[in-house]
């Protein structure tokens, strides 16, 4: 039956240019023709974008139809006879190309110009039509050059901007021949609301929108399929390389990004070429003392001298050996990196555990989601996400709390925005009104620090209104009675004045979340970085268990992981209390397994966490004072809370070896500096926030004498007396498969072939589990455990002396401590200086305007940053990104820790503000 849903699933047999071909269900004439090698000219069509049919270059003749049809929109019907090569069709196609040629200035130059290619193929000579007037170029934006004289009005950029990334910047203004692509209300691109994702650049067929700079017409030597080095979304991309430089970056259709990228992933690769790259090993000059507050802008050569690799490695290893012999293995510690590969993380922790004989190994997961992981492990037995981001398509309700997703996980946010626009209910809860809120059905701008009260209030609503999933609670959970008793103290009406959200709204949102067929919760650092971060996360897990919103496609929990490989580094055991795959060091059975795998005795005592290590350096009385450290790719001199204290501690280390690509702030405290490789200079596997293991492939050679991190680690191990033989990351990965049952089924070859495999994947050939906990939870009894969360306050509340609340965070263009992005010309040009966000009325109160310097003091330190008015802030609160060396936000933050996750409270401390 034509028109019935079943008919749509069948292939369609039809004739194209006299040959019988089949169209797949839903395929257009253009798509099926392309699959059969028949080229039909097209310009406004691009796979992934909604077909728009505006360029009319794909006109074809259909037998029995009066007018021509466009192949990009038209779907064939059985028996249809289509000709793309008839004289009538060809003449029409040629006219369209000729008209478009007359609309652009000159002859298309770049080889990638699709208009030029089609004109060449159809032998379109100089158009008969006179060229019209052309708009001037807009070269205002550091990342994107706009040359509308090459524009053919195909609106691919517009669809990319509005329908893919949902940034709503590009418009099609004016009418008829005057029609023109505009940004906002015809602003210059730089002054528009453009976020620089470059989806438009990727979509443009004629380089009317192109990467700024000279790379527009350069032809690449090779293309390397790799990954984005920035956030945890795990975007797959392709690096176009020439002369050991990256010319341009394109998104690939990876499962996590579907071809999309953000500004960092697309335009933020030039950091690898920055002149400050470390290219030779360095050792501290004799007589240059370490001080807590070195001049980070000082000439590196005054502090260090260059050394050979052999000298540097001997010094590095000798320093560790010496401390270990004199003070014992617990006086050594290591910080690995969530920016490195799985293999690097695995070898680093193995080195600390078998070379230093200590479990004092940690990394920045401690600073981002340690509390989330603590709650997840306690309650459902697994610290990773239950569903991928892509499940927003399957969900009915998407709840995002404590996450500035559009800036920190921009590509993930684009899928959330797509879902919201497809009619899904988006709930955003955050003390700051960030860009995602514009797309939300419900936006709850609650008071900072009141998450537990608010979420308990929502849960109590569900209990009062009998909206809990009793069957799920009975069969899949324990501890409900205790939770119920606890929640009785939190009626919505009572928590409303605490969190600043009306009881009516709290109840409504609770009902929406509970009542849908699938609800997803996403959360970020706004939840985790509190002294009650674990309690915050517990509330979210309670909410999911209470309603049974977990264990199905489109229904689950997703802590948005920050770093590109924070998931993988954690899985690989870069955590003081667990071996790889979260096997506890204090469990004898686990320890024995690793002792036999690694052939070395292992310490049974859990090690210290990041901030504890910093404390243990400064604590002269401690029996296990930390005296020597190996830091690979981390920058605690910027990322740790209460930096005055952390920097003081770093300066007191007897021996510090830093392995990095730039002279980070931490490097200035080092004794030995090892020049390492940037992301595109090495190969390795990386695990994204969705638990997808993906391959980053080497595209460039490291500069100077810089070496791949894996090689340096192996070398270090040998200098510490270990007999390590790893010729290739593949060999490390093979060992990891033996150590980690959850990814035992993933082979390197499969990664190379498929590009992405999701774990758990226990046996070779397993497809990998995208959605977890369908039947049981990986806890001892297989059940989810409710955990009541008491409402407590931040460690440091505002008072008369320090009346403001400081919230730290990020900027879209900068990554973490800025080590990479502040050395990206493009990214730093867009956000070149430290800015602090305040509500406009607060600025008035301070008699300051946008751009005025403000001095922000806390009990720990002070910085000066430039004011930025942000009506999304609540009065009395300020937001300061922590990526700026010259106004390091962590000089102000407090190092109070969450008792379970040991995560510091980056999201709340008291400050005072005055014009500087």
């Amino acid at each position: 039956m034509p028109g019935s849903p079943k008919a749509k699933l069948e292939t369609v047999a039809y004739h194209l240019n006299g040959s019988a071909i089949n169209a797949r269900p839903g395929e257009t004439i253009l798509e099926s023709a392309a699959r059969h090698g028949v080229e039909i000219p097209h310009l406004c069509h691009k796979p992934g974008l909604r077909p728009d049919g505006n360029c009319r270059a794909c006109l074809v003749e259909i037998e029995g139809e009066r007018v021509l049809a466009i192949a990009c929109c038209r779907r064939p019907t059985p028996g249809m006879a289509v000709r793309s090569d008839s004289e009538r069709a060809r003449r029409s196609q040629r006219l369209v190309l000729e008209l478009l040629r007359s609309d652009v200035s000159g002859t298309p130059q770049d080889s990638a110009n699709e208009l030029g290619q089609w004109c060449q193929r159809l032998a379109i000579a100089k158009p008969r039509f006179p060229e019209g007037p052309q708009p001037p170029a807009d070269l205002s934006h550091p990342a994107i050059a706009v040359r509308l004289d090459a524009c053919i009005q195909c609106t691919r950029c517009l669809r990319a901007c509005r329908e893919i990334q949902v940034n709503d910047v590009i418009g099609y203004a004016h009418r008829g021949a005057a029609s023109r692509i505009v940004f906002d209300l015809d602003a210059l691109l730089r002054t528009s609301s453009c976020v620089g994702c470059g989806e438009c650049v990727q979509a443009c067929p004629t380089s009317a929108l192109a990467p700024a700079g000279a790379s527009r017409f350069a032809a690449p030597e090779k293309a390397v399929d790799s990954l984005c080095p920035y956030c945890g979304v795990g975007c797959q991309l392709r690096l176009q390389v020439k002369d050991n430089r990256i010319l341009r970056v394109e998104g690939r259709a990876g499962p996590a990004n579907q071809g999309r990228l953000c500004i960092k992933g697309r335009f933020g690769f030039d950091y690898v070429q920055h002149r400050e790259r470390l290219t030779r090993p360095l050792v501290r000059r004799d007589g240059v003392a370490k001080t807590p507050n070195p001049d980070f802008t000082a000439d590196l050569r005054r502090v260090f001298r260059e050394a050979t690799w052999e000298e540097a490695m001997q010094r590095a290893a000798a320093g560790f050996r010496d401390i270990s012999e004199r003070h014992g293995p617990h006086s050594l510690a290591g910080f690995g990196s969530a920016k490195g590969s799985n293999e690097e993380a695995y070898l680093f922790q193995k080195l600390i555990r078998t070379g230093f004989h200590s479990n004092n190994v940690d990394h920045c997961t401690r600073l981002c989601h340690a509390s989330s992981v603590a709650a997840l492990m306690q309650m459902i037995g697994s610290g990773a996400v239950s569903n991928p981001v892509a499940d927003v398509r399957k969900a009915e309700v998407i709840l995002v709390i404590g996450s500035n997703t559009t800036e920190n996980h921009p590509v993930a946010a684009s899928f959330m925005k797509n879902a919201a626009h497809a009619g899904k209910t988006l709930i955003v809860m955050d003390p700051r009104r960030t860009a995602l809120a514009r797309h939300a059905d419900y936006f709850l701008q609650f008071r900072p620090d009141t998450d537990v009260a608010m979420l308990n209030g929502m849960m109590q609503t569900l209990i009062e209104e009998d909206l809990t999933n009793d069957e799920f609670i009975a069969s899949r959970t324990t501890g409900f009675a205790a939770l119920k008793a606890h929640l009785a103290a939190f009626p919505a009406e009572r928590v409303a004045p605490i969190c600043g959200i009306s009881a009516r709204t709290l109840r409504q949102v609770a009902r929406v979340y509970a009542g849908s067929r699938g609800s997803m919760i996403f959360w970020g650092m706004g939840i985790s970085q509190h002294v009650h971060g674990t309690d915050n996360a517990r509330c979210l897990i309670n909410l999911a268990l209470l309603t049974g919103q977990i264990g199905r496609p489109g229904s689950g929990l997703h802590p948005l992981r920050g770093q590109n490989n924070v998931q993988g580094a954690s899985d690989a055991g870069l955590i003081p209390m667990v071996f790889p795959d979260y096997q506890r060091v204090d469990e004898p059975e686990a320890r024995r397994r690793f002792e036999s795998l690694w052939g070395a005795p292992l310490d049974a005592r859990p090690g210290l966490t990041v901030v504890e290590i910093m404390h243990a350096i400064g604590d002269a009385d401690a029996t296990d004072r930390i005296r020597g450290m190996y830091i690979m790719g981390e920058n605690p001199a910027m990322s740790d809370p209460n930096l005055p204290h952390a920097r003081h501690a770093l300066s007191r280390l007897d021996h510090l070896v830093v392995q990095d690509i730039f002279p980070t702030e931490t490097v200035f405290y080092a004794d030995v500096v090892l020049p390492a490789s940037a992301f595109p200079e090495k190969t390795g596997s990386f695990t994204n926030t969705d638990r997808r293991v993906q391959l980053g492939r080497q595209a460039l050679a490291p500069p100077g004498e810089a070496r791949a991190d894996l090689e340096i680690l192996v070398d270090m191990a040998r200098h510490l007396g270990l007999d390590w033989q790893y010729a290739h990351p593949r060999a490390v990965f093979e060992e990891m498969r033996r150590a980690m049952p959850s990814m035992a089924g993933i082979t390197w070859e499969r990664l190379e072939r498929e590009g992405s495999v999701t774990y758990p994947c226990r046996r070779e050939g397993d497809p990998g589990e995208e959605v977890l906990f369908g039947e049981v939870f990986p806890t001892a009894d297989g059940k989810g455990h409710f955990a009541a969360a008491p409402f407590s306050r931040a460690a440091e509340l505002p008072d008369a002396e320090f009346p403001w609340i400081l919230i730290t965070g990020r900027r879209l263009e900068h990554w973490h401590t800025g080590a990479m992005t502040r050395r990206s010309r493009v990214l730093d040009a867009i956000q070149p200086a430290p800015t602090v966000d305040l509500h406009p009325t607060d600025l008035d109160r301070l008699a300051a305007g946008t751009g005025d310097p403000l001095r922000i003091r806390s009990r720990r330190g002070e910085v000066v940053a430039y004011a930025r008015a942000d009506p999304g802030m609540q009065p009395g609160q300020v937001h300061l990104p922590f990526c700026y060396r010259e106004a390091a936000a962590n000089l102000l933050t407090i190092d109070a820790l969450d008792p379970d996750g040991k995560i510091p409270e980056f999201k709340f401390c008291a400050v005072r503000i005055e014009p500087a």
């Binding site: 009319r56 929109c73 369209v96 053919i152 009005q153 009418r175 008829g176």
Partner: protein, 422 residues
């Protein structure tokens, strides 16, 4: 025999008022339909029988269009009236809004009932401020009298009706651009299929009819489809409003039976002004190909007669030109209009209209080249049928018509670099 349908109340004092409309049986039809719960299919059949064809210009059978909507489909469905009367030469819908707004309202309620729609929009041309206010006032009267809103006349049938004032774009008269505009978007036509009957306003099944079509419905139902059909001729049922303008003594709207000889219409309009010679007529709005005067005098005002002469009846806008008109100048003005009004979405129209205008302009300016005529022929032929909406056709057809009938004037411009007419 004139003024029997849309203009039947024109002789009354202030005919736009509700009580005047009701004096001659206004709202009786919808009252009877709702009271008797007349089967919707019966209404649609009656409209089909009447031979009513879309009065906006396309001439698609109205009853057939209504039957495209599946009345039982759950969810919202809409009736949209196209009062974005923008075709140069057309001004009939404006007078319906001014003088007989309740006929339109009643027609829309009936249409809503027939297709199972509970809401309607009347999209009124941006420049029609005064007719818009008149229509708004009529809506208010109808709402108060209970002919609009919830549970109309206790029947359980709901129909809400809103007017929407356009913002001055010709393209919004294209039905899908009109829908985009109501939705608050830029007025750009949609690719079809899907047609509005499946995917219309807000993606819901929608019937879009011209003002005159909808305003004719109550009278058709009152007197029966056959009565209406028999007013006209074969294939062109009913009477129709013709807007006659140009070089005539009494330009204006005339509601006359389909099939009336053009000569009679011209006479009603007082003949060619100043007794000059009839040179040419554009019989159906500016996009209809021009017909030489002597040929036109032998034609009747119905769909088939005009079509056989190579033009179209269109919206019934009859533009009369005497021998003082330079056809190059006329085409230049029309080409400029389409160049100015192209939405800019698809290549042939966006680039082609500008390009056609520039070529005609340079011929008019005495800068034409011999190959320009061929080029015009070629481009006009290749725009037609290749654009997203009919604006491309509308822009191309006058070019083809002019070159067909008045090629010598263009040739004269090229050869002598001046006008033949003087």
């Amino acid at each position: 025999m004139a003024n029997e349908v849309c203009f039947r109340n024109l002789d009354l004092d202030r005919p736009w008022l509700l009580d005047q409309y009701q004096r001659r049986g206004g709202y009786e039809m919808i009252t009877r339909i709702l009271k008797d719960q007349v089967a919707p299919s019966q209404i649609i059949d009656e409209v089909k029988k009447s031979g009513l064809r879309g009065r906006g210009g396309a001439g698609f059978p109205t009853g057939l269009k209504w039957s495209f909507i599946n009345r039982d489909l759950p969810g919202a469905k809409y009736i949209v009236c196209n009062s974005d009367e923008g075709e140069p030469g057309t001004f009939k819908d404006r007078d319906i809004l001014r003088y007989n707004p309740h006929a339109l309202i009643e027609g829309m309620v009936i249409a809503g009932y027939a297709v199972g729609a509970n809401a309607g929009f009347n999209y009124i041309r941006g420049e029609f401020w005064e007719p818009y206010e008149r229509f708004e006032a009529a809506l208010e009267e109808a709402r108060k009298a209970g002919f609009l809103g919830k549970d109309i006349l206790g029947s359980g049938f709901d129909f809400a009706l809103y007017s929407h004032l356009g913002a001055g774009a010709y393209i919004c008269g294209e039905e899908t651009a009109l829908l985009e505009s109501i939705e608050g978007k830029k007025g750009q036509p949609r690719y079809k299929p899907p047609f509005p009957a499946q995917f219309g306003l807000y993606g819901r099944p929608t019937i879009i009819n011209n003002t005159e079509s909808l305003a004719s419905v109550p009278e058709i139902l009152r007197n029966g489809g056959e009565w209406f059909r028999d007013l006209g001729v074969e294939n062109s049922g009913g009477s129709k409003l013709f807007s006659i303008s140009g070089n005539v003594s009494r330009p204006g709207n005339y509601e006359i039976p389909m099939g009336t000889p053009f000569a009679e219409l011209l006479e009603m309009a007082g003949g060619v002004r100043g007794g000059r010679e009839l040179k040419a007529v554009i019989p159906g709005g500016s996009s209809a190909p021009v017909i030489p005067g002597d040929q036109m005098l032998g034609l009747n005002m119905d769909y088939d007669s005009i079509a056989q002469a190579g033009s179209m009846l269109g919206s019934g806008a009859v533009i009369v030109m005497d021998d003082t008109n330079c056809m190059v100048k006329v085409l230049e003005r029309m080409s400029y209009f389409y160049y100015e009004e192209s939405c800019g979405q698809c290549t042939p129209c966006r680039e082609g209209t500008g390009w056609m205008y520039r070529v005609v302009h340079r011929i008019e300016q005495g800068e034409g080249r011999q190959e320009d005529l061929e080029l015009l022929d070629d481009v006009a032929a290749k725009i037609q049928g290749r654009t997203i909406c009919a604006l491309g056709d509308a822009a191309a057809m006058p070019v083809a018509g002019m070159l067909k009938h008045f090629r010598d004037e263009f040739q004269y411009h090229i050869d002598h670099k001046k006008c033949m007419v003087g």
